[in-house]
Symmetry: C2
């Protein structure tokens, strides 16, 4: 991050008409945004884009979710028609939704806002072998990185992560376990809401997949073995956004898994991350802690799609706007009490 801009942000914050530190975490956030942009005050995080990366998962054959894989394509259709939660939330906060097919198994409807970049129609079953090849994982990473780069060039000031993929909390749990070293039971949750029996099965699948990984596996190899196409693309999207000096607003556990991969591949990404919310899914909180990130919103969401990231965008905008628009003590003729 730009150290001069960071310092300028803290110095400006101290001149604003409020008790020192009284804006709490908004002050840290404003400094981070300044450091990312290299300017103080930082630009507002608008226009913003939610990249909703979609892919299917062979591991669904293990019964880790009650939803059939067909729902991935059906939900992509719902996104394209503006009817999903992420569409409503994005509209409200002024963000654009861009759906990226990086690995949907089923046939997709035509529709504006769909980026067609399918690497393969769903992963293989990670319970039986690698979810994809290293070449496929790399191709998916490239899809995300190229999109982030293109969006930044087109003027996007903030990139939000989104996802759609029936079964994708299972590969996410695998990645969180593998990259944090935490046990499978600790980071594997109920996803969209499975019962105790399915949860036990899911935890066993995650534990076994992680156990199978070679001790010296690289982050890329881990991603290919137990990840997902949309997760790989999201990891690339994070790397691409950081390279373009744009803040990345993370959604839930899928985004956190992708961020762990991105930071393992390119540690400098870390400073560009903002944790949008704390998902109910335990791998999200565990992964954020590993990354040293504290989420902005904590409202028991477990939907994904980018919903939690959208909810947090106004907080980011508030942080940037306060630093840019508040009056100073001198300018407003207000006595600076504690210094008197």
């Amino acid at each position: 991050l730009d150290q001069a801009a960071l310092a300028a942000a803290w110095s400006r914050q101290a001149s604003l008409t409020k008790p020192p530190g009284s804006l709490g975490r908004l002050e840290d956030l404003a400094a981070q945004l300044s450091g990312i942009a290299g300017t103080c005050p930082p630009p507002r995080p608008l226009p913003a884009v939610v990249g909703v990366f979609a892919g299917d998962h062979g591991v669904v054959a293990e019964g880790v979710t009650p939803w059939p894989s067909e729902v991935t394509a059906q939900m992509v259709g719902n996104f394209l028609h503006g009817g999903a939660a992420v569409n409503v939330l994005a509209r409200r906060v002024g963000a654009e939704v861009l759906v990226v097919d990086v690995g949907v198994a089923g046939a997709l409807p035509a529709g504006a806002g769909l980026v067609r970049a399918k690497v393969r129609p769903g992963t293989a079953n990670l319970a039986e072998g690698p979810a994809m090849t290293v070449e496929e994982a790399t191709a998916a990473l490239d899809v995300g990185a190229a999109l982030a780069s293109r969006l930044a060039e087109a003027g996007a000031a903030c990139l939000l992560t989104g996802d759609m993929g029936i079964g994708n909390t299972t590969p996410s749990a695998c990645l969180v376990a593998a990259l944090t070293g935490l046990p499978a039971e600790r980071v594997t949750g109920r996803g969209t809401g499975v019962d105790d029996e399915r949860l036990a099965r899911k935890q066993a699948v995650v534990a076994e997949a992680v156990r199978r990984l070679p001790a010296d596996a690289s982050a890329l190899e881990v991603l290919a073995s137990v990840g997902g196409l949309e997760i790989a693309a999201l990891a690339g999207y994070v790397v691409g956004a950081a390279a373009a000096r744009r803040p990345v607003l993370l959604d839930g556990v899928i985004a956190v898994a992708a961020a762990l991969v991105a930071v393992a591949l390119a540690p400098a990404c870390r400073d560009y991350l903002v944790a949008g919310h704390r998902s109910v899914e335990p791998g999200a909180g565990a992964g954020l802690e590993h990354l040293g990130l504290t989420p902005l919103i904590d409202l028991d969401l477990r939907l994904g799609e980018g919903s939690g990231a959208c909810l947090a965008l106004p907080v980011l905008d508030a942080a940037a706007s306060l630093l840019a628009e508040m009056a100073t003590f001198e300018g407003a003729g207000v006595a600076q009490g504690p210094l008197a």
Copy 2:
């Protein structure tokens, strides 16, 4: 609350294209908003108004804050010029700021957006005797109630609480202690940021003021004895908003103290309250717990003015919008997995 609208909200929520319960607390919020409005889906909480009630406090003479009372009037000037934090945040979320002088001691500048309703120029020192008379407290309550009623009639869909008053975390702590029964040390904090010595003095002032209250004092008598003019007006504003069936979005400890008074005076108010955020000030969290409210935002703010309420308004809007605008499983042609 309207039970039919509440039931309709939960029923509609179950038909939307998402796993059941996956929107977490946004689902509870949408139901509450439906119950308040008596319609499902509920109206969006816009237009919204932040009522920033301003008053001064005789207890400043006890050294409970390092800021001089003159800053109250200076900050009112800042509000009228749009330079304070609450102005920036209200602009961002589409709320109007209305400043109400219910008890500022100093001379105030002319300015659009200022409601002149001074009951008296600051309270008496609550460390030496009652802060105001019961008649004055009643007059301040009436100012707030009348404003809420007028704003609701003029079309405000949501009322946010705001405040300005150097020293006002001290009467707030008194009210929280008196109305929850918690000890003074537990609910008295550093306000805008006092040092250990001032904090000890402040806690002693609060403990002594609460000790002095007659055991059988009514909520109105407690308010008059240890409250503040802007806090009384805020309590009236809460009662008036609830009477007009509008949701009230609470800010920090001043708002929580006012809400405790409002609920003591008119228990039905409780269902119309939404806790905007958890202030760092300990009385805020303690009072919210007593009221059975869980805050939407928790970002270590301790500024007041209505800043935390403004930050939470987009969350309220999101909850209402999701229930109103999301597609249903049937409408979007998405398979309802777990029910299959």
